[in-house]
C-alpha cells in the first residue's frame, strides 16, 4: 500500500511537470530571424504637389528599428495606383544614418504617384508601410518665339531698331512670360552687343535698344521666352540678321580745311539725292540735292558780288581709310539744287578739300554722305545763319559703261 501510494505521488508529480513543460511554447510564430519595424515615410508628405521642374523627387524615410546588426535595406516602391499593381519604381536602398533616401528619376508629369517602403534585415522583412501620395505637376513647355521683324536681309535699320517676335506658344501652368532679346555682331552670339528682357506683349513682344547700335553694321538677333514662375526657358528663336543704316558721326568727321558744322542746327531736310558721276550723263556728272530749305535760306553775295547771291553749299562725305572726311562742295544759288561736272574722277581733285579728299575718286556703289548747309566757307562776309540739313548716305552712282569704269 505504501509502495502504491508513493508511486501514485511520483506519477502525479511527473504529470505536473509534463503539463508545466507544455506551457513552454511561444504564442506568436516568428517571421524571419530578426525583429524589425517598418520605416516611417517622411517626405514627400502625403498629398504633396511637386512641380514637374522640381524633379527629381527624393523619397525619404525615417529608419525603422532593427534588433540586429545585420545589414538593413529598404525597398522603395512607387506606383500609379494605390494597389501598387502598376509600379514605376521598385528599388532597394541600403540604410542611411537615421534616414534613408532614394532619389527617383524623372517621372512623367501630370500624374499622381503612391509610394511605400518595407524594411529587410537578417532574412526578415517588415510588411509594406501604408502608402503616401504625391503628384507631379503638368509639364511646362514653352516654344521658341517666332521672329517678326527685322527679318534676315533687312537693311537700313535705324541705330535703335525695334525687334519684334510673335509670343511663344506654351502649355502647362505658365505664370508670367518674358522675352530676352540678344543682339550680336556674331552669328554665334559669342559676344552679345545688346540684350534685354522685356514683359510679354498681347500677341507680339517688342524691344528697342536704349542705346545706339553701330551704323552700317550687320547684326544678328534672337529671342527666347522665359516663364518666370517655373524658370523654364524656351529655345532661342532662329537668329535673324539685318543691317543698320550707315551713319556718320559729325563730331568725328575730319573737315579738312572746312568749317566744322556738327553744332549747326538741323533746320533742313533732304528730299532726294540724285547724282551720276559718269561723264556720259546728261548733264555730265550731275549732282542734285533737293531739300526743304531751297529758296528759303537767306543768301550772301559771292565774294561781295551782290549779283551772285549764294544760298547754300552742297556737302560730301567720303569714307577713306576708316575715317569720314567731309567738306563743302558747290555753291548754290537761291532755290538751286543741281550742279554738273561732278564726275567720279574729278569730284575729289576739283574740290580742293585740303585733305585726303583731294585724291578721292568714289567708286560706283561706294557710300557717300550728302548734306546741305547755308554758306560754310571761311569767308566771314559770305556766312548767313549757319544751319544745315540732315544727312543722307547712299551709294555713289556712275552709269558709264563698265569698260570705262573708274579705277582708283
Amino acid at each position: 500500500m505504501h509502495t502504491m501510494s508513493m508511486r501514485f505521488r511520483l506519477l502525479s508529480a511527473v504529470a505536473l511537470v509534463t503539463t508545466v513543460a507544455a506551457c513552454a511554447n511561444s504564442p506568436v510564430s516568428p517571421t524571419g530571424a530578426v525583429t524589425l519595424t517598418t520605416a516611417s515615410l517622411t517626405s514627400p508628405a502625403n498629398g504633396s504637389s511637386i512641380a514637374n521642374l522640381s524633379q527629381p523627387v527624393t523619397l525619404t524615410v525615417t529608419n525603422g528599428k532593427v534588433a540586429s546588426s545585420d545589414a538593413v535595406t529598404y525597398t522603395f516602391e512607387v506606383a500609379t495606383d494605390t494597389g501598387f499593381a502598376t509600379k514605376v519604381v521598385s528599388q532597394d536602398v541600403a540604410q542611411g544614418a537615421g534616414t534613408t533616401s532614394l532619389k527617383l528619376g524623372t517621372l512623367p508629369a501630370g500624374t499622381t504617384y503612391y509610394w511605400r517602403t518595407k524594411t529587410t534585415a537578417g532574412g526578415s522583412s517588415s510588411p509594406y508601410s501604408s502608402s503616401l501620395a504625391f503628384s507631379i505637376g503638368t509639364a511646362i513647355v514653352v516654344q521658341a518665339p517666332a521672329p517678326v521683324s527685322p527679318l534676315t536681309g533687312a537693311t537700313g535699320l535705324s541705330q535703335r531698331p525695334t525687334f519684334t517676335v510673335t509670343n511663344a506658344v506654351r502649355t502647362g501652368p505658365v505664370t508670367s512670360v518674358s522675352y530676352r532679346f540678344d543682339v550680336s555682331t556674331s552669328s554665334t552670339f559669342a559676344t552679345v552687343t545688346a540684350s534685354a528682357t522685356v514683359a510679354e506683349g498681347t500677341t507680339r513682344t517688342s524691344w528697342t535698344p536704349t542705346s545706339d547700335l553701330a551704323g552700317g553694321t550687320t547684326y544678328f538677333w534672337r529671342a527666347q521666352a522665359i516663364d518666370a514662375g517655373s524658370g523654364i526657358t524656351s529655345s532661342f528663336s532662329t537668329a535673324q540678321s539685318a543691317t543698320t543704316l550707315v551713319v556718320i558721326d559729325l563730331s568725328r568727321v575730319n573737315y579738312q580745311r572746312f568749317v566744322n558744322i556738327k553744332d549747326w542746327p538741323i533746320t533742313d531736310t533732304i528730299r532726294a539725292v540724285s547724282q551720276d558721276g559718269s561723264p556720259f550723263a546728261n548733264p555730265e556728272g550731275t549732282m542734285c540735292i533737293d531739300h526743304t530749305k531751297r529758296g528759303i535760306w537767306p543768301t550772301s553775295p559771292f565774294f561781295g558780288d551782290p549779283d551772285v547771291p549764294v544760298e547754300s553749299n552742297q556737302w560730301y562725305f567720303a569714307f577713306i581709310n576708316g575715317t569720314w572726311y567731309g567738306g563743302s562742295g558747290e555753291n548754290m544759288r537761291p532755290n538751286q539744287i543741281c550742279k554738273q561736272g561732278q564726275m567720279s574722277e574729278n569730284i575729289g581733285p576739283d574740290g580742293t578739300w585740303g585733305g585726303p579728299m583731294d585724291t578721292w575718286r568714289p567708286r560706283p556703289g561706294e557710300l557717300v554722305g550728302y548734306m546741305m548747309t547755308t554758306p560754310a566757307r571761311f569767308w566771314p562776309s559770305m556766312k548767313t545763319v549757319d544751319e544745315r540739313s540732315d544727312m543722307v548716305i547712299q551709294p555713289w552712282v556712275d552709269t558709264r559703261p563698265t569698260s570705262s569704269a573708274i579705277k582708283k
Partner: protein, 229 residues
Amino acid sequence: MRASRVITMGVFLLAAALPAAAQTATPATTTTKPASASPQLTGVEVGVIGGLSAVQNVGGLLGGRIGYAINDKIQIEAEGMWMQDVATRARLEAISSFGTYLTSVQGKPSTATLTAPANYFGGGFKFLIPMDGALHPYVAIGGGMAKVALKPVFTISGTDVTTQLSTYGVTLGSDFTGDVTKAAITGGLGVLINNNRLSFDVGLRLTSIQTDGQKTNVLRGQLGIAYKF
C-alpha cells in the same frame, strides 16, 4: 516540440519503470541486505525536482529525474525540467528598445518585454564522495537539449497588442518570439541526503544553453526528492 516529446517519452518510461521497480523492490523490504558502506546509494531512484532558476530574472523550476547508482561513487541520471524564465539581459534590453520605439512612433506609452520559459532534458553523472553518515557531497556533469520558448508581450496604452504587431509596423523575428531547441551542458555540485528509500538532493547547477549569439547561462538552485527502489 522535440523537447516536449523527449520529456513525454521520459515520463512514459518513468511510469513504465515504476511497476518493475515496485516488483523488485517489494522483496527488498523482506530480505536483509548484505552489509555495505553505503547500501542506500545504489540502485534505481525516481524523483522530482523543485527550486529556482535565474538568468536575468529569477523564476521557478520544476522537474523530475531518474537515477541509477552504479556504485557508491557514481550515479547515472536523467532529468527533465521546466524553468520559468531564462531570458537574458541582452534580449530583454533589446526588446525593451522596441517599446521605446513604439512610444515615439505611436505617441502613446508602450512597453515591450518577454519571458523565456525553457524545458531541459538531459543526462549525466554524479560523482559522489562516500562519507559515513547520511550526507554525501557530489559533483555533477551532464548534457542534453533545452527548448527555450520566447514569449514577448507588447503593450500600447496598457493594451496587449502582441498579436496585432503588424498593425503597428512591427515584424517579430525569432530573436524575440518562437521556440528554439539547443544543446545544453550542465555542471554543478550538491549534497545527497539519504534516508532509507528516500533521497534528498540539495544542489546548484549551471546550465549553459547554446543559444545563437549569446549563450544562455542558467543558474539553478534545486532540491530533489527521490524514491529508491
